[in-house]
């Protein structure tokens, strides 16, 4: 009897999670949605944030080290897109404000397997933003990578 109650609690918990949106809903068709759509969802407060390390000459170099440690496996060596994640040199990313990229790093895109990087202290996330912005666009590979998804 108690086992049934516990199984029931577990079932309700997982149903609740599904309802909260931890898994994609039926109406959502991730294949049709651009992989960069999440960038447009950044709240204005974040979009307008200025990179406090924008003038730090070491920020991009430190961001590169962080990128190699945390991001390269998914986004590829040159950030041009990997097996699991899109190019960060696409026009959509490179034209996004630093605050928008910071918001994506902080919140992740958990439905699309992008982890939350809030465990990195804020200055390290801004260093990553500096590095990503320093790369510049790479149109061809960026759109190719996005099309694949």
């Amino acid at each position: 009897m108690k086992l049934r109650i516990l199984a029931g609690i577990g079932g309700v918990l997982f149903a609740g999670l599904a309802a909260l949106g931890a898994v994609p809903g039926k109406s959502e068709t991730p294949e049709q949605e651009s992989v960069y759509a999440e960038l447009t969802k950044a709240p204005e407060k974040y979009r307008n944030k200025v990179n406090p390390l924008a003038t730090d000459p070491e920020a991009a170099a430190a961001g590169r080290v962080l990128f190699e440690e945390h991001c390269e496996d998914c986004h590829g060596q040159q950030a041009a897109g990997g097996k699991k994640a899109p190019s960060l040199r696409a026009k959509e990313v490179q034209e996004a404000t630093p605050g928008t990229i910071f918001w994506i790093l902080t919140n992740g895109v958990v439905r699309k397997k992008m982890p939350v990087w809030s465990k990195l202290p804020e200055p390290q996330r801004w260093q990553l933003v500096s590095y990503i912005k320093s790369l510049g666009p790479l149109e061809a590979s960026g759109s190719k990578s996005a099309e694949k998804r």
């Binding site: 609740g16 945390h70 992008m114 465990k119 390290q124």
Partner: protein, 298 residues
């Protein structure tokens, strides 16, 4: 010669071997907690192999060494699943395998908030000789550990453990509060416990070059944990509590080392526990396994 004598060495050797043959490592950026959990989950497809030890002092009885291995896998960005294998050595008594635990942590909210909840569910099938002290619950007290292994291992505990993890990151600090409720599936009442933690890296900015000893890789913290009685006698009476400063060292090679001395805060607690652990994180493990079955090459 008992066949389990060499068991504590096995996970360490296996971990070292695993790191040599495994693919690309991932720097883990782990907080130093041993008991408390924060809201940071394993990155999707990453596998973290971990070995931990708890050395405990025991009044009126022999000291002990509890040890466990963890295999922590990021199933998705919002769900981490983990398998534990536990064992212990009681000095002057014996070394025994004490059981397994299967743990799941789920992040219900999509975005980062001021307070981030994580739901934790664990099933454990362990015997009464388990001494890893991964959590303290109910009326767990030092004298419970006096029973000789041969007798204690005859007691079988099948338990479900639920935790609500509330964790925040603020200006480089992590603050976490865990409340736990445990139900033995036999006719035992619900038991309760808590764990609190705070931690911070020694440097918030990353260095412009790869380095093992950069301050950003060292995270210091403190945790406090203990029991809160059970359904019939909720509160602090006849419970044990600990305060533990902790340190984690996250190396760029994918290794993390942790150490934590714990001090008992009342007469029902062990006076001193020393915990340490080593872990190695493999990036994209799940994807590599999937590719293996699909016959793909990198």
């Amino acid at each position: 010669m008992r066949p389990w004598r060499g068991f504590p060495l096995f996970p360490v050797v296996a971990l070292a071997f695993f790191s040599l043959i495994a693919g690309k490592p991932a720097i883990a950026q782990e907080n130093p907690y041993f008991v408390a959990y924060d809201h940071n989950l394993e990155e999707p497809s990453n596998l973290e192999v971990e070995y931990f030890s708890t050395f405990g002092t025991q009044r009126s009885g022999p000291n002990f060494h509890g040890f466990w291995s963890e295999f922590e896998y990021g199933a998705t960005a919002w769900w981490t699943t983990e398998l534990y294998l536990d064992g212990q050595t009681t000095f002057g008594d014996s070394t025994v395998f004490t059981g397994f635990r299967w743990e799941n942590r789920v992040r219900p909210l999509k975005n980062e908030h001021w307070i981030n909840p994580v739901l934790y569910m664990e099933f454990e099938d362990i015997n009464g000789a388990d001494k890893i002290l991964k959590e303290v619950e109910g009326h767990d007290v030092e004298s419970d550990f006096l029973t000789p292994n041969a007798e204690a291992r005859r007691e079988r505990n099948r338990e479900v453990e639920l935790k609500l993890i509330l964790s925040s990151n603020y200006k480089g600090w992590n603050f976490t509060e865990n409340t736990l409720a445990v139900k033995n599936l036999s006719n035992e009442p619900w038991e309760f416990g808590y764990a609190l933690g705070a931690s911070r890296p020694l440097a918030l900015k990353g260095a412009a070059r790869k380095c093992n000893l950069c301050l950003q890789h060292f995270i210091v913290g403190v945790e406090m944990y203990g029991g809160l009685g059970d359904r019939y006698s909720f509160g602090l009476h006849n419970t044990s509590h600990y305060l533990a400063p902790a340190l984690a060292w996250n190396l760029p090679s994918g290794w993390t080392f942790r150490i934590e001395p714990s001090f008992g805060l009342n007469d029902q607690s062990h006076q001193f526990l020393l915990r340490w652990g080593a872990s190695y994180e493999i990036a994209g493990f799940g994807r590599k396994v999937a590719d293996l079955f699909r016959g793909k090459q990198e």
